[in-house]
């Protein structure tokens, strides 16, 4: 069957087997291998992606179920951010919140949702419980949880800094055309 959707801002149309999962579709049909298959049962979160802005385990969603919807994967997460890294990706690097790395794409997707939610609330720090609940669907077999928790908090700080920088740049950009227009002999 034919599935048409948007993956990381790009329109994608592929022929897929009716029983194919979203994860298989992304990895084998679209060629985005960042999302991983751990348990294949929605327990480990290694396959976490966003569909219409909500986190899902792509191993439990069928490819056909994303028809007409927006999918965002780890490959598209950094879009629009400094160095093409989402603040939480920058934080994972800075904090060394990676051991073997297999769970990392899923953890980053879940952590990014926590960071983005905090950014929407004015960049306030998440509570320990909010971090834990945000990451409850992800397992790290290396048990590297402590650094991951630290990285989420750091990601919120980086996001807040990025937000205020964008605010300043945005104000500067907004001012520039006005000046130009004034100088324009219109």
């Amino acid at each position: 069957m034919r599935v048409a959707c948007e993956v990381n801002g790009v329109a994608v149309v592929r022929e897929v087997a009716p029983g194919a999962t979203l994860l298989d579709f992304l990895r084998y049909d679209v060629g985005l291998t960042g999302s991983k298959e751990g348990c294949g049962k929605g327990e480990c979160g290694a396959c976490t992606v966003e569909v219409d802005g909500r986190l899902v385990t792509s191993c439990l969603m069928l490819a056909a179920q994303v028809e007409g919807r927006r999918v965002r994967t780890i490959e598209g997460l950094g879009e629009g951010h400094a160095n093409l890294l989402h603040p939480v990706q920058a934080a994972f690097l800075e904090c060394g919140a990676v051991q073997c790395g297999f769970c990392t794409p899923g953890f980053v997707m879940a952590a990014a949702a926590v960071v983005d939610a905090c950014a929407r609330h004015g960049g306030r720090a998440p509570t320990a419980r909010e971090v834990e609940e945000g990451l409850e669907g992800n397992l790290c077999r290396c048990t590297g949880y402590q650094k991951i928790r630290v990285a989420v908090a750091r990601g919120v700080e980086i996001a807040a800094a990025e937000c205020s920088r964008k605010g300043r740049d945005g104000a500067a950009r907004a001012g520039t055309p006005r000046t130009i227009r004034k100088g324009d002999a219109r």
């Binding site: 049962k41 986190l55 179920q65 669907g137």
Partner: protein, 277 residues
């Protein structure tokens, strides 16, 4: 439209149970019909006397709903206990009911709130109490092409509501025992008591013996003690399996009932407090 699909067919919403079962080879081959994005099956509405939840509304939307938080706090607590963020963004109450697990976290509060489930097949509609949807472990009263479309919950004056669950860990855990309790407590006396139990019988059940002891009575130590005995010895009919033992499950029914009543009697009307988390 459904009738045009030839051969065996099956509805799927969040897929969090069905896809796992399919991968394990536990489902007969069928054409799956995705209902997750059907607008008429999604959303929460409030009338003067009731709250109506679309069967394909994901748990996250139920948890975030101001109406549900105000009117049905035990349902919010239960939905918040389900799976993980990812699972709650996918899973639905309609799916939880149709899956007919005796341990279904979402069904336990529905039974306590006397929810009515609307089932449709084409233009034909029937309304079944939530407690009667499951007929055994994994078996439901749903016939061929019957789809759960909405869940109706009557608003009633009740100031205590709790959902408590025991599992091996806080997330992604199937309940060993779960309990929902709703009631109205005025001047120490309980009325309109409903207690539902998960994972201690072939389906989610009402704890009618314990309810009868509590109903209309002053919430005294003696009444609580008798209700605890009744729920463990008369209401619960658990089995021993790889998740827990029958004896532990019976004992924990009493413990959870005691906790639900203590939480609520110490702190009447304030929900969202779950001592197990």
């Amino acid at each position: 439209m459904v009738a045009r699909v030839r051969g065996a067919r099956r509805f799927v919403a969040g897929g969090t149970d069905l896809v796992v079962k399919a991968k394990d080879g536990k489902l007969a081959p069928a054409t799956w019909i995705d209902v997750a994005q059907i607008r008429e099956l999604r959303g929460i509405s409030e009338t003067r006397g009731s709250v109506v939840i679309g069967a394909a509304t994901p748990y996250t939307e139920i948890i975030e709903s101001k109406v549900v938080r105000r009117v049905l706090p035990a349902l919010v607590e239960a939905c918040a206990e389900i799976g993980s963020v990812q699972i709650r963004n996918m899973g639905t109450l309609g799916g939880n009911l149709a899956n007919a697990s005796p341990a279904a976290d979402g069904v336990v509060p529905l039974v306590a709130y006397d929810a009515e489930v609307v089932i449709q097949r084409g233009a034909r509609k029937r309304v079944i109490p939530a407690v009667d949807i499951a007929t055994g472990p994994g078996r439901s009263c749903l016939g061929q092409d019957e789809l759960i479309t909405e869940i109706r919950l009557a608003k009633r004056r009740r100031n205590i509501a709790a959902f408590l669950k025991l599992g091996p860990r806080a997330s992604m855990a199937i309940a060993k025992v779960s309990l929902a309790l709703v009631a109205d407590l005025r001047r120490g006396r309980l009325s309109d008591v409903r207690i539902a139990l998960g994972a201690v019988a072939p389906t989610v059940i009402r704890a009618t013996h314990a309810e009868a002891i509590l109903e209309g009575n002053i919430l005294s130590h003696d009444v609580i003690a008798r209700a605890r005995v009744a729920i463990a010895e008369s209401d619960a009919i658990p089995i021993t399996d790889f998740r827990s033992t029958a004896a532990y499950r019976r004992a924990m029914c009493a413990v959870l009932l005691g906790r639900a009543l203590r939480v609520n009697s110490d702190d009447v009307g304030r929900s969202g407090h779950n001592p197990l988390r």
